[in-house]
Symmetry: D3
Subunit: 211 residues, 6 copies
């Protein structure tokens, strides 16, 4: 038993020399109540196993969604343990006929993993090339960072994909919302898109924009 004590002493010494706050060393679960920094949120001072688990990775109710799609994200605001680890996840559930309009993530590449159903995924590259394919179970697809892309259910049943992102905070910008869902003046929208005034007016109405 003496050797045991000595070992423990040795190792505690070793640890006290090299690591004071090892939990903070290995990870940095976000303290969402503190001000963010360019590298993410300050770390919570104490954590438990539950901090590392996100338990809301379920399908939402697509029947309430006009696009028949629900996007459930586990980004840093919902899943603070990914803070600083340059990764996050989401799940996408789409009813028959559902889909996600064209959008981009300014801060992350995305991997789409098909869980069930058939999903058409597409992105457009900077040289204006189109990359589009309908995927089934057993397939995954990568969408490079910052490019416009879309997903829609291409099958006759519900479709689900698990998504992962190369950032704890990928961001998401939907073109329709950016153009028609705020107070950006119609004149500017028309000038910077060449859309007809009537079309802009119609979409502003749909997406709740003014101006």
């Amino acid at each position: 038993m003496i050797s045991k004590m000595i070992f423990i002493i040795f190792f505690l010494t070793l640890l006290s020399h090299s690591i004071i706050n090892a939990s903070v060393v290995d990870f940095c679960v976000a303290d969402l109540s503190s001000a963010e920094t360019p590298s993410g949120f300050p770390c919570k001072s104490s954590v438990t196993i539950n901090d590392f688990i996100f338990s809301n990775f379920n399908s939402g109710n697509t029947s309430n969604s006009p696009f028949k799609a629900v996007f459930t994200s586990a980004f840093v605001h919902q899943f603070p343990a990914v803070n600083g680890l340059e990764i996050s996840a989401a799940r996408l559930d789409m009813d028959v006929g559902g889909g996600v309009p064209i959008h981009s993530h300014r801060g992350a590449s995305e991997i789409v993993m098909i869980v069930q159903g058939r999903i058409t995924v597409g992105f457009i590259s900077s040289d204006n090339s189109v990359f589009v394919k309908t995927l089934s179970k057993g397939q995954i697809m990568i969408i490079p960072q910052g490019l416009l892309h879309f997903q829609f259910n291409a099958g006759r049943n519900k479709a689900t994909a698990f998504l992962s992102f190369s950032s704890s905070n990928p961001g998401a910008q939907l073109v329709d919302l950016a153009l028609f869902g705020n107070n950006l003046s119609s004149a500017i929208v028309e000038r910077t898109t060449l859309l007809d005034p009537a079309q802009v007016k119609k979409l502003k109405a749909i997406f709740g924009g003014s101006g």
Copy 2:
């Protein structure tokens, strides 16, 4: 039709000024036949939609595996499109009683997303704390980079998880293989682990090590 032509000319001009090789700009699908660099492989000179899709994201045959588990990775060597994008994926299928022995990924944090079944996931932090939990569908867990961790099937049915990593090349080091699956001398293994010689000998035999 004149205005159409002019617009096209304008945009081609704009593009030719700002972007010569846009595909290369947005992504860098690995040319695995070229020598790797610290940032990854050189880029393939031309790509198609199929480069962005990995179609082998299926369950392997767990009945052939002594650990009743199959790990199917879509890292840069299997899925060259993730090159340079700091993300990759894998799927893990475990039969009843199956699991992955303790291991670490030197280059990536990992998100475990449960697709079916019940899976016990655990990691140990640098201050020697244990974080372990049995997860079910609807749950995901994050394992911070470089820490020892394990997964095993905790249920009475097959279990499947989709995994994502914060690197295109996470690496994987299994403790048993590192200690017992090569020519590292038994004397060194004993000295640096405090394992008994008989135990080392037994595990060297199991994992095919010499020395």
Copy 3:
């Protein structure tokens, strides 16, 4: 003179110990003929002062442009010396009434520096807020990475801005070109934007798209 010789010997020794290929150490002028890597192009083996200078930072002929705007970029393909240095530049000249349609740069934040005239600059953030302002000489504006933004001449004279980017290869994606200037099927455009078929058809004609 002896001391001179000794000093030289000393310093050459010092240099030969610490630096063999110092030019390569300090910078990495792109060899555009080699395959790119995720961190940029391989370095040219020898350089001169002219490699570090880009002499085409002039106004193009805006009268030939349907948008009455010319964008002259000094990105890595035009100015190989910025390779690996995470910076590049461009100039934007706009005639009266001219402008750049809504677009994003997937890989860089952008600083707009007004050289002459009055320019309206705007961007939309991920929470759909609009940030727009008309700038004059003596003002600069920052546009965060990856967000949709636009610039147009708000004055009665020519306007010029110098732009800088936080990447040697910012990329550029114009929404109109991504949607209407390629073979992305009209059905998908309509589905993922909610634009009317007639509007899509008209813009496909303007931007030269098929499908």
Copy 4:
């Protein structure tokens, strides 16, 4: 009108899932009153368009400057919106005969864009090679990070350059000030530069150093 309401609900739902504090997501305007971190300052909690604009990008009064030069920086302390975005800007105005003494930026490469006049720009690489050239309007030059460099007016009129940097906080170290503008002992200066004591004394007087 019903469809409009539904769309809004859908999108608000989508947003509330994926983004709670989108402004913070996309950018991080520095709160200069908080303690800095290695990645920059904590983010301000609310911003307006004016945060993204720096309106003091004007020429200073060069007649008051002994070097007949004024350097106006828009680094993070003057322009908090660049915080975390790895970019900043400055303008340099030099009267006839004016210039900036030899200096380096420890944290950024620099692009010099000539706005008016003729400016001689030079840098020295680690292998002791000299790269120097006199630039005119229509030319830009890149100075790699951390190398000693200088700029001076080479013409018969005022000269102005716009500068951009690959960091929000480039730093600046002028050799003369580092050696002669503080309390570094003359003995150490002589020993580490081989300058004559009389020369050191003279320059200490000019630059206000003691010791």
Copy 5:
């Protein structure tokens, strides 16, 4: 004397334009009392030369250590000046027969510099190859990030190595402590290592583990 004053004024002006808090610009000595962020600790507001010096780089008392080894780290918690600079150091003293058990650093590569004696250093790569060598004075060795490795005294006298790491906070995970020095259940240890229950029990006793 007038010119001196003018120069000073000029330079103070230059500085006040470009740098307000230069000390913070160049380095970020950790304020260990503040909450850490993913990029490290917030910066102390004022520093002296003593902040940049660590004076405890001495040998500990190896006679008290069961492994006859003492590891003295100058990581960010002991040496706050390395915060944000991606480097740290340690020294390792080993008595005859002493050594450091197998372990890994999740966040840093390590250079081992022999100061005195003969030290056997080894690491195992992800493909299970063994890299092991006995080093003497005049030799250094690099251990890539995150791989299992060990060091032990191979000579007949005390041995000392200076170590440097590519992170201010490398972390350290000893396999024995991770498996046997906490409350990780013996059943899980056995299942994820294939060790015999008796061996696990013995080592749990040595390292103070329960479960």
Copy 6:
């Protein structure tokens, strides 16, 4: 014996799925004969233990050095295994009265570890503050990236320090060599330093400069 075979098969399968070229995964020993990239050299295709060891970490002959100092670097060109690992090392030997003139490393912070003797180490920060101290055995000091600094022997015996750097390629620029050891014209040196022509002429002679 059957279980042994099965385990081996399992693990080889596991490895072949996740890792094809594991050595390349974990490290990237430089192939110095290939063109460098911004992230470093391409990787050698096969390595041995000797690639990870640098055996020339000895004192040079200081008696041949006019500054009575020898700097032995283990940067990427001398020690290719540090390629891509963001760390390197050097040793500095100084005879009585010896020292290293004022210089900076554009790409790395530096830790100075005293092995024997007494060494004065100093650096100047961007706000022109002086940080200087004489160190003895048992002390280490950190010099932040890119700042001017110097070291000299402050004792009555030989002095030795081990140095580590936060880059595989720190670069080194000595002010005297940059100003006086090349063909930079004396007129420019005088203009950008305020040194007297006679002083410039004298130092150009010492350091072998022309112009």
